[in-house]
Structure formats: C-alpha cells, structure tokens
Symmetry: C2
Subunit: 186 residues, 2 copies
C-alpha cells in the first residue's frame, strides 16, 4: 500500500501557528493572481488516493470549518481518524469520518485486506508517526510564501537521516511553490 | 543597499546538524547525476554581490574546511565577520576576512558610505538578525533532499509574519530544488 502526504507549510516549515491557527493560509501569497481554475493539484491528488488517515487535531481543524456539503473537500473518500481518546467524531463530521484507536500497523493491515491501495496521510503528528514507521512513500508540500517565525512544524525528529529523491517543483501565479519528493528509507 | 541570502537547508529547514556539522551537504541528493558544469547559480550570485557579511560560527565552519587558495569560494569579495568576542580571525583566514564587533546598522552605514551595493548575508543567527531588522531583500534557498529530524534552523522567531513574493523554483538533476523569494516587510 502507498502512503502519501499533500500538505501546505510556511516557508519556514510550519503547518499552523503555535495555537493551531491556519488563517494565514487564506491571506498569504499574491491574492490578485488569477487562480480561478487552478487548484494546485488537489483534485488530481484526491482522485489518486482511495482513503485518508488523519490525526485527531487535523480532524478538529476541519470540524471547526463547519463545511457545507458543497464545501466538503474530500468527496466520499473514506477517512479514518486516529485518536486514543475520542471514540465518536464531532457532531458535524458524523457519517463522514470514522475513529480508530489501534496501532498504525494494524490499521494498515486492515486497509490492505479491504483492498485499499493509496492513503492520504494528514496531520503533523500522524505524518511524523508514519515517517518513523518508514511508511510514507511520497511527499507533496505546497510552500506558502510567508515566514511565521514559530508554529507547529511539519516534520519532527526522525529515527535517522531520510533521503528524498525524484524532486520536482511547480511555481503558481500566487507565489506558492509546490515541491514533490519520493522517500527512500534505504 | 541590498542584502540577500544564498543558503542550503535540508527539506525540514536545517542549515546544520545540532552540533554544527554540515557533512550531509556533500552526501545528499543523487550523486550519480551529471552536475559537472552546474554550480546551482553560485558563481552568478557571487558576481552579483560586492561584499559579504557572515556570523562567527559560519566563519569557523569555513575555517575548519582549510581551503586551499584554489578551493576558496569567494574570490576577493570583501568579507566582514560579526563577532562580539573574537577580534582576530583564525590563522588560515587572515587577510581574507575582517572582524566587526559593532551593531549592524552602523556596519550598513559604513558599507553604504564606502559604495557597497549588495551584500551576501550568511550564517543562521546573522540572517535572523538581518531579517528582524527588515534588511534582507531576497532569499535563495537550495533545498537538499534529506530530512535531518533536528538541527540548527535557518529561520528563527520573527517580529511578525513576513510576506514573501516573486517566487521562483529550479530543480537540479541531483534532486536539489532551489527556491527564490523577494521579502516584503510591508
């Protein structure tokens, strides 16, 4: 099974302000640029994955957005939320996500047995756990053109230096730069 | 006067391992790629600057490389090293760098009066000081395809969110990605 990451960070590498706030995502970059038909690869990426695994905090950020069915980003992609504390999703995400309290290897076995091939892994802590289990195969980072100075970093401590390869980069009219790498745990 | 940064970091944003080691710079990326005539823009960048300002630690890393005159990167570009403790450079850098103990604004005044137009600012702490004085105009970061997990970050705390613009990116055959931004302190 393949596991990949599609996430935005500031140029200094943060996915959120220290308090979890991500409002800067919507005010950064050149807001006058023509981005009408440009989704920075998100739909193509969602079409390439068949399930999603996210952390509890990531789910809570989405819950707080209170998306209408029209605004919902993820279509009917199956979403598993890792939490050792919550057994039920927030009211506004019932029927959209399922909670999972077990370990990651068991989840991966379960999804593989059910025929899933490619999971979108989201949330800082969850991504870090998957990297340290040597599971993440591909990383797509959209660099938002801002320095925040402090916040929640995308990457954390790793078990060793991890080699990235097959680098590519795209620059968008709004000054966002999207980089893509394969991960080689050797 | 213009101030710019030309520096390499890991994909997780570190300029060195926690102990200052930068050996990973030389082993990262696709070592079999043809990079014979490719200097990733360094010579052109050096031709565009007329002086260099670096921190003491940055100088010490260069001193430890014990470069021969043929290996010396910086031609005869004037190099000012900021230090409040050292008054003399190490033996092997005498005649190549000069020490400076005053504050940054006085140094900038002095260089401007002497006719300098564009300084290369190097070293983590020095870059952070210049950003916080709203002096850095352009940032060129070469992203080395490795996750280190921990180390000395390029960026530190900022006085506020800092907007970057005019983004561009180049991917090299060795899987290094170089991004470039102008800084807008608004």
């Amino acid at each position: 099974m393949k596991f990949s990451v599609f996430i935005a960070t500031s140029v200094d590498g943060f996915i959120a302000k220290p308090d979890g706030n991500v409002d800067w995502l919507h005010t950064a970059g050149n807001l006058e640029a023509d981005m009408e038909t440009e989704d920075m690869g998100f739909k193509a990426y969602m079409n390439a994955v068949d399930c999603m695994i996210m952390g509890r905090k990531c789910m809570e950020v989405i819950s707080e957005m209170n998306l209408t069915p029209e605004q919902w980003f993820y279509g009917d992609t199956r979403i598993v939320v890792l939490s050792s504390t919550l057994t039920e999703p927030p009211e506004n995400l019932r029927g959209k996500v399922e909670m999972y309290a077990g370990d990651i290897h068991s989840l991966v076995d379960k999804l593989e047995k059910e025929g899933y091939k490619h999971a979108y892994v989201d949330g800082g802590k969850t991504i870090q756990s998957f990297i340290n289990l040597q599971l993440i195969n591909e990383i797509i980072i959209t660099k938002i053109p801002v320095l925040l100075g402090e916040g929640i970093p995308l990457f954390g401590k790793t078990f060793k230096d991890i080699k990235l390869e097959k680098a590519s980069a795209i620059t968008f009219p709004n000054d966002f730069i999207q980089v893509k790498y394969s991960v080689n745990y050797e």
